[in-house]
Subunit: 166 residues, 2 copies
């Protein structure tokens, strides 16, 4: 991936909307999507060894914290639609990391449960966060600051949701 020199363009400080506002290199949304794809891409060689894609890794993190969980619970935890999670879980089941069976007591919901193999995978996964921090050359403090900044940004999108109504 070759993005333009990261140190090149800086947005103007303040003032009225200018023609430069439409410059690609000034767009936060652009920097954000490239950063997201780049970081996820950096995980790939690491997660390949676990046989997981990055979205699948997030689901496993979710289940290592608590299993079984329903599709709805997982989708809420990951801020994804159930329709996105559903086929992803089928692939994790095919990989032998989870089982999917109807919940007893409520035939609507699905009990998504770690297999022994899925639970065991956690041992190898414990190395992932440290490995990635080292690869990106970030320390815990920097990660924490970026994490906090992302959470504030997410919160901003929640309160700015008037749809197309205004």
């Amino acid at each position: 991936m070759t993005v333009a020199d990261p140190t090149a363009a800086a947005p103007p400080e303040a003032g009225a909307p200018s023609d430069e506002d439409l410059l690609l290199e000034h767009q936060l949304c652009f920097a954000l999507t490239v950063a997201s794809r780049s970081v996820v891409g950096a995980y790939k060689p690491v997660l390949d060894k676990l046989g997981l894609t990055h979205p699948q890794y997030l689901v496993m993190l979710c289940l290592w914290e608590s299993s079984p969980r329903t599709v709805r619970e997982i989708s809420d935890a990951l801020a994804q639609e159930p329709a996105t999670i559903s086929p992803l879980l089928r692939r994790l089941e095919a990989a032998g990391y989870i089982t999917r069976q109807r919940a007893e007591g409520n035939e609507r919901s699905l009990a998504v449960r770690l297999t022994a193999r899925g639970a065991a995978l956690r041992e190898q996964a414990t190395a992932v966060p440290g490995t990635m921090m080292a690869r990106l050359g970030l320390d815990r403090e920097q990660v924490g600051e970026l994490h906090a900044a992302m959470m504030r940004l997410i919160a901003a999108t929640r309160t700015a949701d008037p749809g197309d109504g205004g």
Copy 2:
């Protein structure tokens, strides 16, 4: 900026990996992907009025700066694979915003050019950055800081790319 200090006495935060490292809520990659999807999602109602998806909007920004451009130039500017851009351009052509024709002088490359309609769309697009800043409740300074943080993160992934070779 912040290089690990060899003389530091290894406080808890800079120290050994803990079990909490695998908590979903601590993952920067998770916050980053959610932020990216959330911000792009916030653009949707705004871009719908222009008849553009967010990736298509980025291509248009690219062409409003310079037209014609080849597929390779666009793909470099957006840090995307040509294989991603190719079908996207076909849809922009179907929408009437661009034309695609073989470049004269080099039959291999494609001249991607704004149509009059595509060029005119820029007028409406000038409002987008300001609208989005307002929606997210961010001022120029905050946007600038986040933008810079994302660029540093992107740069970090560039220097941390040993593939699976080590």
